[in-house]
């Protein structure tokens, strides 16, 4: 393995890691922080729902779906940028 390709791999991995950390931080917010605030959030309403209940019944779930699609879109871009995108 040449020094150059090692360098490319390192930069690739750094970007991938930063993206993953961002995604996991957002994940932790919706999965772990929001559920602890349900009591407080329930004082507000959203589409007629108590907001806290809405978040754990639908809101966080929608956030997870969006997060994965967003991550894959960014990760594909990173792969292509470094020429690691695969032929399909």
């Amino acid at each position: 393995m040449s020094a150059e390709s090692t360098d490319v791999r390192d930069r690739y991995w750094q970007k991938t890691r930063n993206l993953t950390i961002l995604i996991l931080a957002l994940w932790a917010f919706f999965a772990l922080i929001i559920p602890t605030l349900v009591g407080t959030l329930n004082d507000m309403t959203f589409l007629g729902f108590p907001l806290g209940f809405y978040m754990i019944a639908q809101g966080s779930l929608i956030a997870f779906v969006v997060l994965i699609w967003f991550q894959n879109w960014r990760q594909d871009a990173i792969d292509d940028e470094f020429g690691f995108g695969e032929e399909e």
Binding site: M1, R9, Y12, W13, T16, T20, I23, L24, W27, F30, A31, L32, P35, T36, V38, G39, N42, T45, F46, L47, G48, F49, P50, G52, F53, Y54, I56, A57, Q58, S60, L61, I62, F64, V65, L67, I68, W69, Q71, N72, Q75, D76, D79, F84, G85, E86, E88
Partner: protein
């Protein structure tokens, strides 16, 4: 064979389109038969028998004698279809049958399962699936064994996999038995073996390939069966065609009814049945938020460690399609999971809201006792009403129900035609069978590939390997059915345990294997053994083995970490021991370090050769 190879993959959309159309036509035919006066029992039998026959046919058409096809479906499953198969693999009898009922009775606290069982896919996508796909392994222990090296690491992974998956599979066989017993009018102990027969027909001849294509078919049945009753009910009650965004008002009104009727424990409890004592929308009780978060976290880490899920992503053609397939999986799973709270809310409203014709709470006791669905379900002991304060009125705490019948009974409660009940039974059967298939295959593959081929007889012939795999499949299935027929655990308890076992032993060794180059064999072995033993020991100490309820026999749980959350204890022990032991022992050699680097890059040859 030819049907599945080239031609099938080219026409896959059309094949499943025709299948879906055929299934809808079948539902309409059943509805017509019902109008013509065919009995409810016949319709129930036709639904369950017809769908199982289809799955068995797909299983037969997908038979194979190739190692690659048997273990990873030839690595050519398109991302969308793998997403559907994963969704069916994932959504067990518990999700289908017990989840909405759990929310009905457990409210806020129970919804940790919903958040956990969806949020886990973010972990799968970020930490595991693309890297394991790049690795090119057949099974999860295959990854552990190669990444860390050595038979001991491989063996530990096999043990954790078998314990976690086996705990889970008995619950699934139990669920197929319950549904078969009720739909086909056979005793439960016969139903269990009947269910097992259906499961084996799907998986035995074609391994992963057969399981993949039956799971896609099963997903289509189960999602139709889940959505139709909810949408129908919502229309009857005036919540619009898609209830998910409009039932907010119902959720808000429920708290008024809860206050009006009072959430009180019953004067005299009935064993095995529950009354509603938990508010629908908010946290209540000591540690409520903490318990929510720990349960959700155990379920999420468990999701990312359960081998029957991870191995589904070994079947895609590339790393990118593995990631894409995780996204599809979550979308398909989400469809059911965001419907479950709607179902629970609408069902509860139907029973509580006096302005609806279906309400029973607050009605004269005799009137309720004469309802057909009350009589049907009471006669099998799944439901009871008792006028314990002798005022002639049914109070909220005088209505007893088994939580896991809420979904099955909802069509009857709402007064929907019987064809819907038959459809729901077929959906529940599909959910339980597809998960059982995936789990049995995960266990049998780990034993045949990792234990037999890699450790006992590395020179074994392909045909011998595949015969061993099938014999193991039958034996494990039979053992699971035997244990299920003894009815040791409820459907849901065992499911939560499986997640906790899996994350205690496997979460950190799998994650750190990719994300921490320094992680070595000694550390991984310590992480698996200590994590798994600590979790199991903790479960042993805090679980209420005799089922008496309030008192914990050996010790009371630490800060609310009860028998559903022991994964937290196991994972903590696993992480600490893995890091400490790794740092005390030498770093892995250069070859392993290069292997980790290769794993992180999506292109290039897989780490393990295509046919190993």
């Amino acid at each position: 064979m030819a049907l599945i190879q080239g031609r099938f993959l080219d026409n896959i959309g059309r094949v499943y389109g025709i299948y879906t159309g055929g299934f809808i036509a079948f539902i309409i035919l059943m509805a017509i038969l019902e109008q013509l006066g065919v009995g409810a029992d016949t319709i129930g039998i036709l639904f369950v028998a017809f769908t199982i026959a289809i799955y068995a046919l797909i299983g037969w058409l997908s038979r194979t004698m190739e190692v690659d096809a048997y273990y990873v479906a030839g690595r050519q499953v398109p991302a969308v279809y793998n997403g559907m198969a994963t969704a069916a693999d994932w959504m067990s009898g518990a999700s289908f049958v017990a989840l909405a009922g759990g929310i009905y009775f457990g409210g806020y606290g129970y919804m940790a399962f919903i958040v956990g069982w969806t949020g886990g896919y973010v972990l799968v996508n970020s930490l595991m699936a693309p890297y394991l796909r790049k690795f090119g392994c057949y099974t999860v222990p295959d990854y552990i064994g190669t990444r860390y090296g050595g038979n001991l690491a491989r063996f530990c992974a096999v043990v954790v996999l078998v314990v976690a998956s086996f705990t889970y599979v008995t619950a699934q066989i139990n669920a197929t038995g319950t549904i078969a017993a009720r739909a086909l009018h056979i005793p439960f102990s016969v139903g269990v073996w009947f269910g097992l027969l259906g499961i084996l027909l799907c998986s035995m001849l074609g391994g992963m390939r057969a399981v993949t294509w039956t799971q896609v078919a099963q997903y289509i049945v189960l999602i139709i069966a889940y959505l139709v009753p909810v949408i129908w009910m919502s229309n009857v009650q005036g919540f619009g065609i898609i209830p998910h965004f409009t039932y907010g008002e119902a959720a808000s009104t429920l708290s008024q009814f809860e206050a009006q009727y009072g959430l009180n424990p019953p004067a005299e409890a009935i064993a095995g049945l529950s009354v509603l004592t938990t508010p629908h929308t908010g946290p209540v009780g000591e540690y409520a938020e903490w318990k929510f978060v720990t349960l959700a976290l155990s379920m999420m880490a468990g999701t990312a460690s359960l081998p029957h899920i991870l191995m589904r992503y070994f079947t895609t053609p590339s790393v990118r399609s593995a990631r894409r397939s995780v996204a599809w999986s979550l979308l398909f799973i989400f469809l059911l999971y965001f419907t479950a709270p709607a179902l629970a809310t609408l069902t509860k409203l139907q029973l509580l809201d006096p302005s609806l014709p279906t309400a029973i709470i607050g009605k004269p006791f005799e009137e309720v006792a004469s309802l057909a669905w009350i009589q049907n379900w009471s006669s099998v002991g799944f439901l009871a009403i008792a006028d314990q304060n002798a005022d002639g009125i049914l109070q909220l705490n005088e209505f007893f129900m088994r939580p896991d019948i809420v979904v099955l009974a909802t069509p009857e409660i709402a007064g929907l035609p019987y064809v819907i009940s038959g459809l729901v039974a077929a959906g529940g059967m599909a959910a339980a069978m597809s998960t059982a298939d995936g789990l049995l295959l995960a266990i049998a593959n780990a034993l045949s590939h990792d234990l037999y081929y890699k450790m006992i007889d590395p020179k074994a012939d392909t045909s011998v390997r595949l015969i061993v795999a099938r014999i193991l499949l039958i034996c494990i299935g039979a053992l699971g059915a035997l244990i299920a027929s003894l009815q040791l655990t409820g459907i849901l308890g065992a499911v939560a345990w499986a997640f906790c076992f899996a994350c205690s032993g496997l979460f950190f060794p799998l994650t750190l294997g990719v994300w921490w180059k320094r992680a070595n064999r000694q550390g991984a072995i310590a992480g698996m053994i200590i994590g798994f033993l600590a979790g199991s020991l903790y479960l042993y100490l805090v679980n209420d083995w005799d089922g008496a309820g309030a008192a914990y026999p050996i010790m009371s749980p630490w800060i609310g970490l009860d028998n559903l959350r022991f994964g937290i204890v196991g994972m903590a022990a696993s992480l600490v021991s893995m890091v400490v032991v790794t740092l005390m022992t030498p770093a892995p050699d250069e070859e392993i370090q290069r292997m980790v680097e290769d794993t992180r890059v999506p292109v290039g040859p897989p780490i393990l050769a295509a046919k190993h």
